[in-house]
Amino acid sequence: APVEGGRANVVIQPEPPGLMLGMIQNGPTQMVAGNIYEGLLRYDPSLKPMPQLAESWTVSGDGTIYTFKLRQGVTWHDGEPFTSADVVFSVDVFLRETHARLRASLVHVENISAPDDHTVVFKLKQPFGPFLGIFEVGTMPMVPKHIYEGTDFKTNPANNTPIGTGPFKFKEWVKGSHILLVKNENYYQEGKPHLDEIYWHVIPDAASRAVAFETGTVDILPGGSVENFDVQRLTALDNTCVTDKGWEFFAPQSWLWLNNREGPTADVRFRKAIMYAMDREFAKEVLWNGLGDVATGPFSSKIRFYSDKVTPYPHDPDKARELLKEMGYDGTPIRLLPLPYGETWQRWAEAVKQNLEEVGIKVELVATDVAGWNQKVADWDYDLAFTYLYQYGDPALGVSRTYVSTNIAKGSPWNNVAGYASPEVDKLFADGAVAFSDKKREGVYTAVQKKLVDDVPVAWLLELGFPTIYRCNVKNLITTGIGVNDGFKDAWIE
């Protein structure tokens, strides 16, 4: 039986800019605020929806009307009741203004209505296959209408003291040191949460984070908080468990942006040569401790409609050289932008550079910091650039944005930065999104994967595995496909 009480010490990296999840959706914010705010649904490791603020839901036969029944007796942390009005406000007013990713999905919604206090109805313009996949806390967090309505959201002072419906309440934030969340005594779900408090420790240096775990200061190292080289050593410690679960919903997929517009990378043979030249197994084994998988194409194997019936690209330098010769590559040097997210990525870029140079491609690494990287990628000022993106469980949510030509626009590093344009792919993705039956979608997506893998608009690297390291006496830490990011609701310490 779960033990009540206790404190969880968790590393948070980097320090979030704020905790108002409706406003800021970056990783660290979500990791902390996922315990304060809640969405209507959560998803299990196989991405099946689970109830959260919504008790149950129904979908009309044509797939255009989604009706959610909300839980009774839910209150905000300040005691106000949570109702369907909050949902309508959150989605239609607040998030529509502040949440770029959700806004993209909301184009399919015709209107949102609240027939009664505990019912919300989403009416879509046409069917949208992945619609049930956008109700998790990071994508659609519920924010309190009574606090935000009629105010300037960005400057509302309440942003500093977030009020949600979640199992933990915000208590204090000592900038540069820690964030403290305490148990929500009035949580609507009987007996939850088990923990009394969660301390999020801000430790900016990766090596120090490892030390913090070793010395017992922290008990939980969420994925990505220590360098991969340290994972093996840490997991060998006593009473230490490791899991790469809890990332299924995000399914982080890494690739190299290839500038399809100009230079050698505009030639598909060159792009293929890159695929053959790279030793991705090596990267996985050496740089990622064997965690994760070599990506076969645009879809992560974790998400729906994944297909492995595509052209494989094994490590084959000879083939790469052949392709280069065939296209008549003249040795023009190409620029490679590493991801400025720490040593692993830096080393990876060096390894890729080495791989490419072995088949005769001249590579020049271009180092920048985060801001510079964003700017360069967003302005298409690169030849090759590392990146990784979440796929959010469904190709229509997390995959198509990278490949459809309507998404070619300067200024954002998250759209179709490669400049790949194929009417066929555009059409297939459009069909896939609005097709309602899974079977139909499957067909479309299998076709699109085949086509993309042959066109190589980007060079896929790995499905990243982020290991969460924790003390074995922390139980029930990861129960959903969202993992640490949606809460310590079920966790307890033995």
């Binding site: 959706q25 400057t155 540069g176 040191s177 820690h178 240096d205 120090s208 010395t215």
Partner: protein, 325 residues
């Protein structure tokens, strides 16, 4: 009075320098690639033009640069350092929040390095040519030439992980909820490693400098006079040699003191010390212009202040010095 005139003159010039510093920093920072909106968009994992435009408009980044500068400068003149784009808090609050931690760390390191460095240098000078001199000089050179973060990590490994004597990071036990004396002890415990690490480098510099300076002074005639008085070597070294050798060290100490605000980026990072060096570094990476300018401003003010203090100390330490502009 002369002193008052000196001070007023210096303060006036200081204000001008600060203003110039501000303007130059402003352009410098804006010259770096990327802007806060791009960074935030990048972090959000999704962004579209609306999102970026919203951010830029909110931060006033859509205005021409000179207008932004004007807005900023007019704010600063009224001691309003603006809002941090990223943290959505007044810059001044953020800085004041972090300043004490940094001052505690750098101040302690400063005092440690000064005292220990001067002492070690003095010992080395007095034992010139003997093994203790060689040991001290070599150690100083090693500390000087070893990367700070390497020393830091080694110290943590030894004292924190292996021996378990001292906490390896943070400023106090998080969630310890100590009060009063206990809290001070707790903080002191956390302070030891970072302060030592940071102090080592400067200690090395002071050691070398003190030694060289003392040897230089030992050759001066008045030291011979002191010996002719039949004074003991200890007294001679302390009262005559060291006192005269200390002046160049005052200059150096002034420089170090001025760098106290921003000089500890790496140490604060490795030891998770919630100080201003980290704040600045993060602001830099996030192109949080207002915050960065604010930190630069405070740092500049400190440097100028300590240059002034150095000059004053100089005038007290050396009666020969008359007001030097």
């Amino acid at each position: 009075m002369a002193l008052a005139r000196f001070l007023i003159g210096r303060l006036f010039k200081a204000a001008l320098v600060l203003l110039a510093v501000l303007v130059l920093n402003f352009f410098l920072i804006h010259a770096a690639p990327g802007d806060p909106a791009a960074v935030m968009a990048g972090e959000a994992g999704a962004a579209d033009q609306i999102f970026l435009d919203q951010l830029r408009e909110r931060f006033g980044l859509n205005l021409p640069l000179h207008e932004q500068l004007w807005i900023y400068i007019s704010g600063v003149v009224q001691l309003d350092f603006g809002f941090s784009y990223r943290q959505q808090m007044p810059v001044l609050d953020l800085i004041l929040d972090r300043l004490p931690a940094t001052l505690l760390l750098t101040g302690t390191a400063f005092v440690i390095s000064l005292i220990m460095g001067v002492a070690a240098g003095a010992v080395a000078a007095m034992r010139r040519g003997r093994w203790s001199d060689t040991a001290i000089t070599t150690a100083a050179l090693i500390f000087y030439a070893t990367p700070l973060y390497w020393v830091a990590l080694m110290a943590v490994l030894l004292f924190s992980v292996t021996l378990g004597w001292l906490p390896g990071f943070g400023m106090e036990t998080v969630g310890g909820n100590y009060t009063g004396l206990d809290r001070w002890l707790d903080v002191a415990e956390h302070l030891v490693l970072p302060a030592l690490t940071l102090g080592l480098f400067f200690m090395a510099v002071y050691t070398r400098m003190t030694r060289a300076s003392m040897l230089e002074v030992s050759r001066l005639d008045f030291v011979k006079t002191a010996r002719a008085k039949g004074l003991k070597p200890g007294v001679i070294q302390r009262r005559h040699v060291l006192r005269n050798a200390i002046l160049p060290i005052v200059t150096l100490a002034g420089l170090q003191a001025g760098q106290m605000v921003g000089g500890a980026i790496l140490t604060e990072t490795v030891f998770a010390w919630p100080g201003i060096g980290r704040l600045m570094f993060e602001a830099l990476l996030q192109r949080d212009y207002n915050l960065l300018l604010g930190v630069f401003f405070i740092s500049a003010a400190m440097v100028i202040l300590f240059n002034l203090v150095t000059d004053l100390v100089y005038r007290i330490a050396d009666p020969r010095i008359e007001a030097a502009g």
